[in-house]
């Protein structure tokens, strides 16, 4: 670690991993409810488990992004963080606000939570991914502003690099687009239109900048390739991301009451969205092949390469599969969507956070560059277990989705939703089994932090 203040990243990373575990446990609960319909009913209804699962996901990814920024901005800017105290304060504010929100979901009926937090004054709750009480949303904005201020001041006093600039633009975009979560008109079509400004313009817009910047940072550090080369790649990737992804938002505008021309705009531009993800894969493998040194942290390199491949598969390939309007007409809102959502979120955003944690954590814990060989071997095991089981989760959900489309939609004799779901039971059981393997992988991941921690560093 080159700067003292980078240490504030550590609690952020630890919190991220802790919340990740919670996310997976609730995923497994829902996976069981898919086949044993009344499991934990009425104590934890499916919708509650789902809110906990998806909100924990978003929160731990945000913790990961913030930790990444606090770690890499001082190092890139070659100066201490403007205010480590503010960073630590915001850590606790965010953690406590998050924990209270999750407890609220679990302990009281959602309608009561809405009433307790005065939702009717400024109704923003009850929309997918944006279920947080309005007051939590305001808290998120405050934390984001303090965070951006802290980073901005650090960047101003230090060296300016392309990586910090791109990261910062991405994070500002994240905060700006979140503001649309406060806009919730009575008109359902307009509500949906602007809801996508948060969801799509995050994952297929500004988050790709954050992803690219973190990946570029880790590749510079682990391969020693010339910064000029890496920065050029980064610009090309993020240019493609926004050029395709902004109009690509139209792939969500096909069936929600917006003009028909979106079927053209959305299909054409979103069909190009896999390009930046493909470039990212080529970029990562090229840089590692041209490496000027062999970094002792081989686990971090594996995570970085894995991110680039899995993001391309999950977002690029599985996204393309259902993005053309004539296909999406049949697949819209089925298990195909769930399959894609899982692999894309894991492959791009979960894995990039695990990449930066893998790279930074040894230094944050007082090592020179890497963990012991034993610890790295366990970490690599966890990489393969989680990644391969996520591939299987995706495949099983895709199979379920194809059958669902056939029996419920693409047929002369459409079956009712609930009847179709019963016929898919086998695939849901297999998804659950793969989910258990995922959890085992995650447990091994956590063990890897403790195993071999008093053994010497891998050289």
């Amino acid at each position: 670690m080159q700067y003292q203040s980078q240490a504030v990243a550590k609690p952020y990373f630890i919190a991220a991993i802790g919340l990740f575990v919670g996310q997976i446990l609730f995923g497994l609960i829902m996976g069981l409810q898919y086949v044993i319909g009344d499991f934990l009913f009425p104590e934890i209804p499916f919708n509650v488990a789902r809110m906990v699962h998806t909100n924990l996901l978003i929160v731990w990814i945000l913790f990961g992004f913030m930790g990444a920024a606090y770690y890499l901005v001082p190092e890139e800017s070659e100066c201490e963080l403007y205010s480590p105290k503010l960073a630590l304060l915001m850590f606790w504010v965010f953690l406590i606000a998050g924990a209270l929100t999750i407890l609220g979901y679990l302990l009281v009926p959602y309608a009561t939570l809405a009433e307790m937090t005065g939702n009717s004054l400024l109704p923003t709750m009850g929309r997918e991914f944006l279920e947080q009480p309005t007051i939590t949303k305001i808290g998120i904005v405050i934390v984001a502003l303090a965070f951006l201020f802290n980073l901005g001041m650090t960047m101003l006093k230090g060296r300016k690099t392309v990586i910090t600039l791109v990261l910062f633009i991405g994070l500002v975009g994240l905060a700006v687009f979140f503001l649309f979560s406060f806009f919730n008109p009575d008109n359902l079509v307009r509500d949906k239109l602007y809801w996508w400004f948060v969801v799509h313009l995050w994952v297929e817009g500004v988050w790709e900048l954050i992803l690219g910047a973190i990946l570029a940072f880790v590749l510079i550090k682990t391969t020693g390739v010339d910064r000029e080369v890496i920065e050029k790649w980064l610009y090309v990737i993020i240019a493609l991301a926004l050029i395709t992804g902004i109009i690509g938002t139209g792939h969500h505008f096909f069936w929600i009451g917006l003009p028909g021309y979106w079927q053209w705009w959305g299909s054409i531009f979103s069909a190009l969205e896999p390009l930046p993800f493909f470039m990212m894969t080529v970029f990562a493998f090229n840089m590692v092949n041209q490496r000027r040194r062999n970094h002792p942290n081989q686990a971090a390199v594996l995570w970085a390469l894995g991110t680039s491949v899995m993001a391309f598969l999950g977002a690029g390939v599985w996204g393309f599969m259902h993005t053309l309007a004539p296909v999406n007409y049949y697949t819209h809102g089925t298990q195909i969507t769930a399959a894609h959502g899982h692999m894309a979120f894991y492959g791009a955003y979960a894995m990039i956070v695990l990449t930066i944690i893998s790279y930074a954590m040894p230094m944050l814990r007082g090592r020179k560059a890497a963990n012991s060989g034993k610890s790295q071997i366990l970490e690599m095991w966890s990489f393969w277990l989680m990644t391969v089981s996520m591939v299987f989760i995706t495949l099983f959900l895709t199979a379920a989705g194809v059958l669902q489309v056939y029996t419920q939609r693409y047929t002369d004799n459409p079956q009712p939703f609930m009847a179709v779901q019963e016929r898919l039971e086998l695939f849901y059981w297999m998804r659950e089994a793969a989910g258990v393997v995922f959890l085992i992988g995650l447990i091994i991941y956590i063990i890897s932090f403790f195993a071999g921690s008093n053994e010497p560093e891998q050289a």
Binding site: Q33, Y34, G37, D38, F41, P42, F46, N47, R50, M51, Y110, A111, E115, N119, S120, P123, M125, G126, R127, E128, E131, V162, N184, D186, N187, L188, V189, R190, D191, V229, K232, Y235, V236, I238, A239, L242, I243, I246, I247, T249, F254, W255, I256, G257, L258, P259, G260, W265, Y329, Y330, H332, G333, T334, Q335, T337, R409, P414, P416, F417, Q421
Partner: protein, 144 residues
């Protein structure tokens, strides 16, 4: 990447391209807004429907159901439930009101929300309004 393609060219494409497509997107959204009155069934948005949307949101119905294909995939699509239930808000109300408190053994269950008569009417009216949105004939058939 080739040497003739420089970093500053890449940077300019990023800024120029992003700005251009952001403006184009804004223009398209602006144009969509102006043609929405033809499709979004806004004449049906009464105070009751607005309340119905709030009831929908404050009970997190989207956490199990999809509406116009968006949401969760655990329970039936509700954008067209009004037509599936024979164009009857009464049938929708009866269904919601009759959910057993302890669920249905072994079956995916919907909670008993104990909605007031007013809220129940409102959410049914909201679902009726949703089914009137012109959305390019999605879903493909009545089963959603």
């Amino acid at each position: 990447m080739s040497k003739t393609f420089t970093k500053s060219m890449a940077r300019n494409i990023f800024y120029g391209g992003s700005l251009f497509f952001m403006l184009l997107f804004a223009a398209l959204v602006f144009d969509s807004e102006s043609s929405l009155p033809d499709t979004d069934n806004r004449q049906a948005i009464t105070e009751e429907v607005a309340l119905g949307k709030l009831v929908w949101e404050q009970n997190n119905c989207i956490g199990c159901h999809s509406l116009l294909g968006e949401g969760a995939y655990f329970a039936p699509e509700l954008g067209n439930v009004y037509t599936r239930f024979g164009n009857s808000t009464e049938a929708i109300k009866a269904f919601i009101a009759s959910r057993p408190k302890e669920g249905i053994p072994g079956r995916r269950s919907m909670p008993q929300f104990n909605l007031s008569e007013k809220d129940l009417n409102a959410v049914a009216e909201f679902l009726k309004y949703s089914s009137g949105i012109k959305n390019s004939n999605w879903p493909p058939n009545i089963q959603g």
